[in-house]
Amino acid sequence: MKPTLICLVLAVCIYSCASPDKKAAPAGDSTTATGDNPVSQKTDSAATAGSTSSDSSGEPRLQARVVQDTLKLFLEGEDLSIPPYGLEKIKALAKKGVRIDDPYGGDQSTDSLDAKVYDALTLREKFTYNVIHPESWAQNCNILPMQTDKAARIYGTLPEIYNEYDWSDHQMAFFRDNRDSVQAWIKEIIQRDGHIGENLRELIVETNATGLIPALAETAKKETKDHYDLTTLLLLMEKNKYPEYVNSSSCKKLADHSSYEHPPYLVYNKANEDLIVQRATNFYNGLAAK
């Protein structure tokens, strides 16, 4: 058969297999099927892109076509740090990103660079790509609980940063596998900006980047609109079960979730700031002495 005819046959097969609107509601179900098309579909062009197969259970699997599309990059945000390493190259590559072409039409996934393209990047470029393009999804409650009055409160958790997106498993593995390098690059960005963005704070905690405690202690003193650098210090001490902190009244207060009005917090004042910085510095000095 000619390729076009093969595609046409394939399209018909896929459409009849996967199109709910051609089927009836189950007998005995108390709900009533309507005559409307149950699913909005663009099967004409999209179905030709896919092919069917079966997995080990015999269930039909529709293999979607991989196509190119522009990737969503997080380059602007309320408080994001953008790595400079190969940034223009990543922006250009993002225009040739890979997405899954949905045979049903509709919105597309976040998706990623082609694996070969990604593998060809330098470590620094991979760092930039991974920081500005989270490839996976964030779950429903990542944004909760709400944190308000941030200038007057030191919260025990960091805010969400990428809306409905999150770093994928392989992106997290990259950050952790290259922890020392990641730490050095973050340090360079802090020195460049004199500030730590929300995305890098999250990365510092995820990679347990305790080597950045001195830098965090410095930037924390300059924070005015929120105090998430102090939160980051607290999280690092908690993650490493630093006794001076985990046995403190501050830690106990931040673990008290009994109020449903707001998440637990410490009142921001100079004394609390100094105490957190001092404890974190003690923790860091202890690590350095080992």
């Binding site: 009849s16 297999c17 996967a18 199109s19 709910p20 609107d21 051609k22 089927k23 009836a24 509601a25 189950p26 179900d29 108390s30 709900t31 009533t32 099927a33 309507t34 409307d36 098309n37 149950p38 699913v39 259970s57 269930e59 039909p60 699997r61 529709l62 979607a64 899954i100 949905d102 045979p103 049903y104 509709g106 919105d107 597309q108 996934s109 976040t110 996976s136 999804w137 964030a138 779950q139 429903n140 409650c141 990542n142 944004i143 909760l144 609980p145 709400m146 308000t148 809306n163 409905e164 997106y165 994928s168 498993d169 997290m172 673990a255 979730h257 009994s258 449903y260 998440p263």
Partner: protein, 281 residues
């Protein structure tokens, strides 16, 4: 009328069942509670995503149970529908040992194997809520079944059941275990042995709210229609009520006011839904 409690329940179309009976019949029956047209108070003071306000709703009938695997299986059997997770192999699953808010990508996971094939299928969980489906998969089911999702406001009115407190049972969170399948562990690094259910539970396993709705809190996040902000991304969907994953020390989403958000294509093993039946006039 504002926050009218007793008049709001128009009728219970199917008598509210005790949990054991509810489990047995949930998959076979669609039981709905009617909510009368009226003005209702929703939201919370100083909550930017869900501010305290009065809304006027038309009457609606909402399912007392979350939609089950059995019900979703009937849809798939009738239509051959293939879910987002089955097409893209990008579902996110959970296993104890993960840090807070981390999930694993599992290419084998879909509604048939909610946490991946290695963690078991739904054969013995047909009365559990369907999970590992996306908002789009839910929309497809609703259109086929002639039902729809509750709006964000409808969900809250049905959840509150006339109450004004943080939970429909008051403000004492310690009672949550009577009403909801949630995560009782301090964190997610070790398995939760706080109740019988480390993941989902059969629908109707816990006490219902005052209007007879089961699992309003916990078990699965329930997708709703509507937007939190008119300017938000069209790729966002919202869900409410928290899930089996949610804990006191993480998100505390199992309450009457919080509104979650997720990509319309994302499939998590703590996402599900309950439906609203159109009222024909």
């Amino acid at each position: 009328m504002l926050c009218s409690v007793s008049p709001a329940v128009a009728q219970t179309t199917t008598r509210t069942l005790p949990p054991a009976a509810a489990q047995a019949s949930a998959a076979a029956k669609n039981a709905f509670v009617g909510v009368r047209r009226g003005k209702y108070s929703v939201g919370r003071k100083d909550d930017p995503r869900n501010p305290l306000r009065t809304v006027e709703l038309d009457s609606f009938r909402i399912a007392i149970y979350e939609t089950t695997n059995r019900q979703y299986a009937a849809f798939v059997a009738a239509t051959g529908y293939v879910t987002d997770a089955e097409r893209h192999h990008d579902a996110l699953v959970f296993e104890p040992g993960l840090e807070e808010f981390r999930w694993l990508s599992d290419s084998t996971a879909c509604w048939r194997w909610p946490n991946g094939k290695s963690r078991g299928g739904i054969e013995k969980r047909m009365d559990h809520p369907v999970t590992t489906i996306s908002f789009r998969d839910v929309e497809a089911y609703c259109k086929w079944a002639g039902v729809r999702l509750p709006t964000l406001e409808e969900w809250e009115v049905a959840c509150r059941a006339g109450t004004k407190t943080h939970f429909f049972f008051g403000n004492d969170e310690r009672r949550i275990g009577e009403y909801a399948n949630i995560w009782h562990g301090r964190d997610h690094l070790t398995a939760d042995h706080g109740d019988r259910f480390p993941y989902t539970s059969p629908v109707g396993s816990f006490k219902p709210n005052p209007w007879g709705l089961y699992d309003v809190y916990g078990n699965v996040f329930e997708f709703c229609s509507g937007r939190v902000s008119p300017t938000e991304s069209p790729t966002l969907a919202h869900a409410r009520g928290g899930s089996w994953w949610c804990s006191k020390n993480s998100c505390q989403s199992y309450n009457s006011t919080d509104i979650g958000q997720v990509n319309i294509r994302a499939s998590f093993s703590n996402q599900g839904f309950r439906v609203v039946q159109p009222i024909r006039r």
